[in-house]
Symmetry: C2
Subunit: 262 residues, 2 copies
């Protein structure tokens, strides 16, 4: 695999954010990776250990990586869990398909997220992980992670917390789905994206949505027309500027009032 080629590909699809924000292409360094900062960077942890117990500077070159093109899946529901994946660059949707063939988008992981946790309970993934843009992941052998857990209490706790974090994410989403109307759901959704953009070093005010309206609808339990109308209404109330996937948050406070709790 030609890394330079892949990088160029990935670069083409990135956000056009202001120059003072990092490009998604640049691999997170230990200093800037929010997961490393929170002591949650599994990659950094593994890198350290693979160097025979000697604490090594973070380097992506020490671990197996994989690119996933837009629309391709990193893994599929039913596949046997072998790896977890740390998402370096790009974004993904986790799709659940029930027995009736109805599809639901569980979440939209972005750079820094740990993928594959849905396979831990049974040893088989329960979701399809589909790239929303050309993306780059680092593969982490799950059995290695468990093995490391069983010799290192800090590593064990870190893995537990990573799984628990995902649970809490869904619990919050539950709250959104049971207590908010369409406009509030969209506001809440955008706030979440905005915060994660900020955490990755991008502008929290202006960004490009990587998913379709259809994906958003299936994530928030709405119909595509309702999503579209909600965007329109937020634009009319001068909270957003929306033009298809391009988004500009004009009044973050108002958005927060709408999307937080209530």
């Amino acid at each position: 695999m030609n890394t330079a080629h892949t990088s160029a590909r990935i670069c083409e699809l990135q956000n056009p954010g202001p120059p003072d924000y990092r490009s998604a292409l640049s691999i997170p360094s230990p200093a800037t990776c929010r997961m490393a900062a929170a002591g949650m960077c599994f990659v950094a942890d593994l890198c350290r250990h693979t160097k025979a117990g000697i604490h090594q500077p973070f380097s992506i070159d020490t671990l197996p990586r994989r690119t996933v093109r837009r629309g391709e899946s990193l893994y599929r529901a039913g596949d046997t869990l072998v790896n977890l994946y740390q998402l370096y660059a790009g974004s993904v949707k986790l799709r659940i398909t029930n027995c009736a063939g109805i599809e639901q988008i569980a979440s939209f992981p972005m750079a820094g997220a740990l993928l594959g946790l849905d396979g831990i309970e049974t040893g088989k993934y329960t979701c399809d992980a589909i790239a929303l843009e050309d993306s780059l992941v680092c593969s982490l052998s799950f059995s290695d992670l468990v093995a490391r857990s069983s010799s290192d209490a800090a590593a064990a706790l870190r893995l537990n917390k990573a799984i628990a974090q995902e649970t809490n994410h869904y619990r919050r989403l539950l709250m959104v789905l049971t207590s908010m109307n369409s406009e509030e759901r969209i506001a809440s959704f955008l706030l979440d994206i905005s915060e994660r953009m900020a955490a990755s070093g991008y502008s929290p005010r202006e960004f490009v949505l990587k998913m379709t309206r259809e994906d958003i609808a299936r994530h928030l339990g709405m119909k595509i027309e309702t999503v579209s109308r909600a965007f329109t209404r937020l634009q009319i109330s001068r909270i957003l500027d929306v033009s298809r996937r391009h988004l500009n948050i004009r009044d973050p406070d108002a958005l927060r009032r709408l999307g937080t709790s209530h």
Copy 2:
């Protein structure tokens, strides 16, 4: 604490199920405890280890237990996570309250469930765990569990799976909330209860709901009147007999058709 007294109390509030079904008062034995059968009984695991590494027969007397009266909370949102709890007898609701004071019921754990997982991510619980009836739990020190994980890969994996299981539970609930109408939601909810009653040795056909309509409504993102009407409609279509909290499933197949996926 007078165990005999507590037992009597708990007994009074149990389901009036047929005599061939186990009373909730009886403590699950290793043979009948479904979590032990699935290799997921943390209590059994700890009991073994507390006996100085010698594999001991399961006994509830070897671990600290605690009774929680109806309406009391086992823990509260914001409390520091110290213990996880395995629920032996009774049932509980996990309540989330957001900053606007809106309440949502995340789940209704029943006998066999592991409680307190919501505190793992941050070290503080995010839910209130409130007993729906007088209940009995076994306290498991979380730091002990982590310590055990870090010397025993099987224990580490078991804990990871327990957390991941909860995540998958919420993912399924998400699917229910985004793709089902009120009648289907109630059907799905009742099927879940029914299956768990069966797994605990009770009749899956006839049981008493321990929660109010209000709790069900806040769990499924509906209003109390809609819950009531859904029950009424299921009764009219001869799928259920409902009389307040008492439930009799007359046509399990029809209920399954309604509540499974779409």
